[in-house]
Symmetry: C2
Subunit: 143 residues, 2 copies
DNA sequence: GTTGAATAATACGAACATCGTAATATCTTT
DNA sequence: AAAGATATTACGATGTTCGTATTATTCAAC
């Protein structure tokens, strides 16, 4: 089997460095007010897992639970997140996005959508599917 | 001209999210001792621009100069960085990596190298060049 | 040549995020 | 009912980032 050449590896590394500098997933767009990276990721996660608890978020983001506690505090104060006490287990907290939180997430996803669109537009139409297939292979392969 | 479909955009977005979670450029490898992101980037920048000043680093990383001052303090204390007073302008400071700093950067670049190698290995040999060409197109295209 | 403005870096203090430990409340098991 | 397990929060410590003020040096103008 053929192994990648050092030239290929170097080219990939250089391109990815520019790539990640150019397409920042974490950019708030400049308009929104200073939201921590953890805060942003928490919002996105809760948006995709409504009713989840702080523990789930902490495990997913690999941060201490007290950090998520602070983050949810901030987000609740800003009116982006809601804490609910579920009937079943009254120790737990179920997190949900507020209306404003949903709007925030939607805006962010729109920004991402535009970014991905811009990436694909830089390719020829007949290249796009094969690029997607390859990046999926790299991202999802086991081992 | 054909525009990307929403399906393509969604697939790309999902793949890139997993991709960036899986291949963290910022991972210190787990062995090294808690180096700030700014510290790490400062080391890499100085490695590529020996003799540069704190102002250059601050401009490149887009952080306050006092932040770089603190970062260089930490790095000097750890023995990874050296401050020199150049002859020409005695206000300025010329930054250079120490031996230990060079070793650190080398280790980090080796880790990156391995990561890029792993990415390419997940592709078929005849896919690699076209993938590199496409990611370069996306990264470097103007406009 | 001396004075005044501009440049380069640092010292200091404030604000804030993250984390570990301890405390509180609720569920589960015996 | 008691003991332990689980889920979250309160509190204090540490550390990073940043803004302002300060010091040192160079450049410009008179």
């Amino acid at each position: 089997m053929t192994i990648p050449t050092n030239l290929q590896i170097a080219a990939l590394g250089a391109a990815l460095e520019t790539f990640s500098r150019r397409y920042k997933m974490t950019d708030t767009g400049g308009l929104e007010r200073a939201l921590t990276e953890v805060d942003t990721q928490t919002l996105l996660y809760v948006g995709k897992h409504p009713g989840c608890g702080p523990t789930d978020v902490a495990r997913f983001l690999r941060v201490a639970m007290t950090t998520i506690s602070s983050a949810t505090d901030r987000l609740v104060k800003r009116g982006l997140l809601e804490r609910h006490r579920p009937e079943g287990d009254r120790r737990a907290v179920a997190l949900r996005l507020s209306k404003a939180g949903e709007a925030h997430v939607a805006a962010q996803e729109l920004a991402h959508h535009k970014m991905f669109l811009m990436m694909l537009e830089r390719l020829e139409p007949d290249e796009r599917d094969s690029f997607i297939a390859m990046i999926e292979k790299i991202a999802y392969s086991e081992g």
